[in-house]
Amino acid sequence: MTPEIGHFALALAFALALIQSIIPIVGANRGKLLWMHSARATSIGQLVLVGIAFGALMRSFVTSDFTVVNVASNSHSLKPMLYKIAGTWGSHEGSLLLWVLILTLFGAAVSLFGSNIPDSLKARTLAVQAWISTGFLSFMLFTSNPFTRVFPPPADGNDLNPLLQDVGLALHPPFLYLGYVGFSIVFSFAVAALLEGKVDAAWARWVRPWTLTAWMCLTAGIVLGSWWAYYELGWGGWWFWDPVENVSFMPWLLGTALLHSAIVTEKRDAFKSWTILLAILTFSLSLLGTFVVRSGLLTSVHAFAVDPERGLYILFLLALSIGGSLALYAWRAPMMESGGIFKPISREAGLLINNLILVAATGTVLFGTLYPLFLEAVTGEKISVGAPFFNASFIPMMLPLVLFMGVGPFLSWKRADLAGVLQRVRYVALASVIAFLVIWYLQEGGPLLAHLSILLAIWLLFATLREWAMRIRLFDVPFSEALRRARNLPRASHGMTLAHAGLAVAMFGFIGSSAWKVEEVVFVAPGSTIEIAGFEVIFEGVERVRGPNYFADRGTLDVFRNGENITTLFPERRYYPIAESSTTESAIRSTLAGDLYASIAEPASKDAELSGAWTLRILYEPFVNFIWLGSTFLILGGALSLSDRRLRVGAPKRTRAIPSRTAPAE
């Protein structure tokens, strides 16, 4: 019964979405307040109904109702409860339901919390949001119904792919989708603004909290995925430039550009059509991601079970939404007059550079990701584009961005005093170089690019801190006065400092763990000793252990440093009999200085198995935890900026924001 309730709720949500697609926008055009306000009820109604459907599917998973096809093929009665719940969004159909749930969540949130947004803009935005949910609800109802029954039901399920049975991955899709799909509301705002033909500072301010929320969630989602890959796949890497990783990264890059260009629109009434375009493109890239993952267009390790018919339906939705919005853009954008004039040396110009680099970087990743498809279509040749391309193109592009990031916040709006700024950062540059030389002395060797990157990361960290210190006049005035200033500084400003510093911190992790990684792959028998990065690791042997739905071979490694036993690692090789697949559970000794990472694999040969020899992969990854630390800073920085007073208090009337030298930057 429960699955039928879920299915029925989906159909009702589809009906509500249809109503919301039409009534509010017609109301906005005719000035009928009641029609416009109808979006409030329908958007909340959609959330409740899709929520019921999601709850129904989750219940089927929790109770292991194998009469539902989706449960039978993705769950198993012996699976731990957490993964039964996570199984809800582990399949194509279930994850699509989560996608739509988040879509309606953002719609309802705008209805509930966007009390300062004018009625007509809100009505149009929610109507556009309903267009998207109409498209995806119909997609689900017609091609990917998660509630399809099977008769006779199987005795037990097929189990979820064991690689996916992991806490990091249980949480990864919800956050990723909150980010991905969160940009839908920004897209809806942009399309609504194009329909209204009006974009101004107030618009940018209304959109900002939603952009920030989506951006934070996307950051968290990507980091969780990366963290999962790091400790679960057993290769010790955290980013592989796989197409599916790339499609989640591109909306992040463009979303970051949007976050910055929207500031210019908000403070200076400039970059208007550009901000709108970024808002459209960011969500377009999210849609592209959904399409790539579910259509089998590209080779990837992550893709869902694919079906060309589904791919065609999503492509049709893409054509409507992206094509439609860009056509609207081409028609309406030229009519938007641009505001605030600025000089080549100004904060506007700085943010423009930020945008240009981020957009170029996004274009590079997009090109690299789709190049195999283009080439195959044109010449028939099949290739794959891997990490070397992205490392060679993307990284050198991002380094200038880091250089400018250090200076940018020092620049004032409209016209900045270059000499003054250079004077302020003079000592920062000097200190960075000194710190860099010290590190170079301590850590000789490694690629030149890595050293250059370290220098830039130090520069970014110091410059960011210097800018923050300058704002609160630390050391210039008594400490209590500086503290008072820090308290009075807008939270958005603290948020910027934290996020920029976070990137610098994460950079240390990126660089350290890729350029100075030490790796050994060895055959070991009980009693073997491996020396790596100052550690002495003794392999004690392997024993067979049993988990709830798997068997595991658990290795025991005693780790010594300077003759002292500092820890014991237990890497595992798990076999899941029902899913007929194996996973690697690496064991990690984590410290801020670096991770000692161990994973074991099947014995090297039959003879080796008899003598107890195993393949042991052991790595030392310096600074890798700085990645997670820095990423946390990024997310907290976003949260701090989101809590800024100006976003909570009603936005001012549609008047031009008056720029001032003490204007907060984010």
Partner: protein, 187 residues
């Protein structure tokens, strides 16, 4: 803002859309990355026989001037799928009269000899590639891999992974027919 410039994003999106539409062709399998060796001459190599096995060694000259296309199979005793594939290859060599050559990849001669003694030896020639150097020349990504080489020493076909199961065997036999090593009616 320039009117034509505003159309640019739409234009790019339409071009992308066209490629995507093409890419959805159900016959297309993006996971199938063919070898760069296809239609190229087989690489230059010369391998000694496995120590302790009577079968002669294998070098490039054995692949040129053959009567019909031959099969070159890369295998190892430590590779479990090779064991499954062995029966298929044996049947190809013994029932269909295909000339089968082997490259014994990164294997200890003793292990390889024992493996062949246990399962039987369908190979006409086997080169022992202990260092894995020749495997690199052939561009293999793992074992087993199986190539079909034409009478003039040109690589015609590459199969990655074990030729096991109806679909894989069907595919491989089809390739053999096209190479002229099997008559069409044997398909």
């Amino acid at each position: 803002m320039n009117r034509t410039l505003a159309f640019l994003p739409l234009l790019i999106a339409v071009v992308f859309g066209g490629f995507f539409l093409w890419g959805l062709n159900p016959d297309r399998d993006p996971n199938e990355v063919p070898s760069v060796l296809i239609s190229q001459p087989a690489p230059e190599f010369g391998l000694e026989p496995i120590v302790g096995v009577d079968t002669p060694g294998l070098s490039r000259s054995d692949l040129v001037g053959t009567e019909t296309a031959v099969v070159v199979n890369v295998f190892a005793s430590w590779c479990v799928p090779c064991r499954a594939e062995h029966a298929v290859l044996t049947s190809l060599a013994e029932r269909d009269g295909i000339r089968l050559f082997g490259i014994n990849y990164k294997d200890k001669p003793d292990d390889a000899a024992r493996w062949l003694a246990e399962l039987g030896n369908p190979y006409a020639r086997i080169g022992s590639d202990v260092s894995g150097r020749v495997g690199i020349e052939w561009g293999i990504s793992g074992v087993p891999e199986t190539f079909i080489v034409g009478t003039d020493g040109t690589v015609l076909y590459r199969y990655v992974g074990p030729v096991v199961g109806e679909v894989a065997v069907g595919k491989f036999r089809e390739a053999l027919v096209q190479a002229g090593a099997l008559p069409r009616e044997d398909l």
